[in-house]
Symmetry: C2
Amino acid sequence: MPKSPAPLYEQIRQLIVAALAAGEWRPGDALPSEAALAARFGASPGTVRRALDELAAEHLVDRRQGSGTFVSTHAAPREPFRFLRLVADDEARGFSRELLGCRRVRATAEVARTLGLRTAEPVIEVRRLLHRRDRPVVLDELWLPERQFEGLTTEVLEAHAGALYALFEARFGVHMVRAEEKLRAVAATPEAARLLGVEEGEPLLSVERLAFTYGDRPVELRRGLYHTASDHYRNDLN
Amino acid sequence: MPKSPAPLYEQIRQLIVAALAAGEWRPGDALPSEAALAARFGASPGTVRRALDELAAEHLVDRRQGSGTFVSTHAAPREPFRFLRLVADDEARGFSRELLGCRRVRATAEVARTLGLRTAEPVIEVRRLLHRRDRPVVLDELWLPERQFEGLTTEVLEAHAGALYALFEARFGVHMVRAEEKLRAVAATPEAARLLGVEEGEPLLSVERLAFTYGDRPVELRRGLYHTASDHYRNDLN
DNA sequence: CAGTGGTCTAGACCACCAT
DNA sequence: TGGTGGTCTAGACCACTGC
């Protein structure tokens, strides 16, 4: 408990996040203007501006001079793979996707704990490959609470052309805000080796990702195996 | 070339960075107050404040209410390993260091190109191990332009207790501002296996880091091999 | 207590976008 | 041309630090 109340711009920021979580404005929508929000929250325009600037820094909203402030969306043409840090050594871009499977399973103890579910609660498991220049480079396996992703099937996935996170927004109203990743080097299992076209035991980069929606609620656990022969995981430190 | 000149707060930000690069204020020093800087640059306090806020967001300065704005330093007690993202699975903290060697060599073509030097220009090569609970977890190899690090020897390294980057600040006036890392999974070479106490061919996380000082000038190339059995590389995405 | 950064307000003017 | 966000200013008041 803080001694003094949070500053007004922070309170306003939280109110806007709550409105986003409640779906008052959907990804891609315009928010009300600064002046309108100032009137709504009874604050001066400068204070609302500060709240919006913080939200823009967290990539929750997207500010465009002359046109307005918009809810961020993974469907934006600029960043179809905003959270994927794997880049080709020669800077080549883009992947093609191959769906391996989608089924309803019971959460293992670890998946349940990580996603904040009860053990054995139903989850949807998706497996897929990403190819670069027709060579497999990523084997992804991901788990989603069925409660929030009811109706996600192989057919739905096959029918959707854009990024996975864009599908989650459009069809299930779940927008991914941020993620935490844990990286390790591991040896390829026989199955991973077969799917990625490498030798068994060959080093692969293991990437475990926990993705969060508004309000820091975890909604996706993902395990990726990256073949880093002519690609690498890029990270900027500051 | 931008059509319109950069905004005033950005010009002021760049002037402050230039002053930092010139050593007008050293790491740990206090900058002049907002009001004093406003007078110096002929701008209003609000504009100077914005420039300082941006510098704080980049971790170039550290703002402390009631006492002032200070030049960031790697000697700060809070973050002795600010750029090291390797954390123990059980959240244990801290490493002990073991120096393996420090010698003057000629830059390979790749090292020279990356650091912006001429081929075969002299560089200082340092090799060391980091241990967690008396077990080796990181094998580091790094190269520094001799021009900027003249006098860096085994003795100097042995005599210094704090972080490497703190030594670079205190002794050579080089402050590391940001870095870019490229990660891959690789197989342990015989030498790496021996030093890290693992089997030859075992998967290791390879981390290649290029570190920059003020003005985006590259000054250190580092290759790390991380043993990720009970540690992992942590990354936050947003 | 003096000096510092942190918050909040109010308003002027500009640059950009859509129509 | 009207509405949007972006810049810049000016000043009041508060919270915190260190002497």
